[in-house]
């Protein structure tokens, strides 16, 4: 059996080398044809490391937790509210909408047709969000899928699912955990995962 597995992994590594070489060939051709700049790829990756990432969403959620007026404005007009915090919108966030989780209603975001995701607030989508099995199951058996994410909901909690298919990118303000009274926004933001801001995680005070 171990021989088989080694062969399998070897084969996988070979494929990855191929994909890597083909990608390199692609960028190389783009450079030759003046379709890309030498620093474009680095700048794009850096952009999602420093400018558009889940740190934005966490900042917004923490603010909403400590400032009820801000939260009201966020739920009313998400794009305008995040601008107050100096967060720019843009691609895949032209029309953002925040929904607030409560103890009785849990929100889950998915995109069964592709992988629509609120980039300005969460950066790029992680692999789980794009997984065909996740997208197949989350709309029909959300409680079973939540279990696979180790999320335990009270059975009486109602679930609302948001399946993006046209223009709006949905974003969840999760429930603020107990025991965080008086915490700073920075300290609160550190608790908030990407998953919690799409309903596949809860926020816990560490």
């Amino acid at each position: 059996m171990s021989n088989k597995d080694d062969g399998h992994h070897h084969h996988l590594r070979e494929q990855e080398s191929y994909y890597a070489a083909r990608t390199k060939a692609l960028e190389s051709l783009f450079r030759e044809k003046n379709l890309i700049g030498q620093d474009t790829v680095d700048r794009v990756i850096g952009f999602f490391e420093t400018e558009m990432g889940p740190f934005n969403g966490a900042k917004v959620v923490a603010k909403a937790w400590v400032d009820p007026d801000f939260k009201a404005r966020l739920l009313e007009d998400c794009n305008a509210a995040i601008a107050e915090l100096g967060i720019r919108d843009g691609i895949e966030g032209e029309n953002l909408m925040a929904v607030e989780a409560t103890k009785s209603v849990h929100h889950i975001v998915t995109c069964t047709l592709c992988s629509c995701w609120p980039w300005p607030l969460l950066g790029l989508p992680p692999y789980w969000f794009k997984d065909p099995a996740f997208r197949a199951r989350i709309v029909r058996e959300p409680r079973e899928v939540l279990q696979e994410f180790d999320v335990k909901l009270d059975p009486s909690t109602k679930i609302e699912i948001w399946d993006s298919s046209a223009q709006v990118r949905f974003f969840v303000v999760p429930v603020r955990p107990e025991g965080t009274e008086g915490w700073s926004e920075e300290k609160l933001a550190d608790l908030i995962s990407t998953e919690a801001m799409q309903g596949l995680g809860l926020v816990h005070a560490n």
């Binding site: 990608t23 691609i91 997208r135």
Partner: protein, 224 residues
């Protein structure tokens, strides 16, 4: 039936991935950068990538990792549209396979980077400033139509023939995209947020009060 258009609700597909990383191999970042460059310079847009994804063999769609599918879709598109040719791509791929540390050519268009960053901060406004006379109003019951299979659709398969309630009428006319073949959404039209009860979509499931919201183009709806 194109399975990728009917993915939601497909049964017996096994455990979900809980992989929380965005990229699992270094080459994926580079590929994503090239893709973003294509978006920012107008070489392609999401609908082109979606057409490729929906046209895939559904088994391959499940089998291959996300960015492996992108790699295939991007290369196929660029070859079809004559941005690159297959032979040069294959040759260069072989070269970098044999010389994985060989550098990229020190060439390129220095103006592209800023154009791409500007684009990422601007995005695409789907709204069109044309008359928007929505047929349906909030609270109205609507049935989702079941149009013929199309090359590309934004109609979620499991919602076909389902009845929901209009939850929101969006204020402006939306143009999805007129650069790819769709069933009926390549003209500006109203869109609606529609609320469905999941127990009506999947009555065989345990009864709950769970609901599901989705935005639906007007041409996919009729009064119920």
């Amino acid at each position: 039936m194109k399975l990728q258009q009917y993915l939601g609700g497909l049964e017996n597909v096994g455990p979900v991935s809980t992989e929380k990383r965005v990229f699992v191999e270094e080459w994926e970042k580079q590929l994503f950068g090239v893709h973003m460059c294509m978006m920012g310079t107008g070489i392609w847009a999401w609908p082109h990538l979606r057409v490729k994804a929906e046209g895939m063999n559904p088994l391959d769609y499940f089998k291959y990792r996300y960015y492996i599918k992108w790699l295939g879709g991007m290369c196929a598109f660029l070859i079809e549209r004559n941005y690159i040719n297959e032979e040069e791509l294959d040759e260069l791929t072989d070269y970098y396979l044999e010389n994985p540390d060989a550098p990229l050519p020190e060439k390129g268009n220095p103006k592209v980077t800023q154009a791409v960053v500007d684009y990422m901060y601007t995005g695409d406004d789907p709204y069109r400033d044309v008359a928007n006379n929505p047929v349906f109003k909030i609270g109205q019951r609507v049935r989702v139509l079941d149009p013929p299979s199309a090359v590309h659709t934004r109609l979620i398969g499991y919602l076909r023939n389902q009845v929901g309630v209009i939850d929101e009428v969006y204020p402006k006319a939306v143009l999805y995209s007129d650069s790819v073949p769709t069933d009926s959404i390549s003209v500006p039209q109203p869109i609606y947020r529609v609320k469905f009860m999941t127990r009506e979509i999947w009555p065989e499931r345990p009864d709950t009060s769970d609901s599901l919201f989705s935005e639906v183009f007007e041409s996919y709806l009729e009064a119920a």
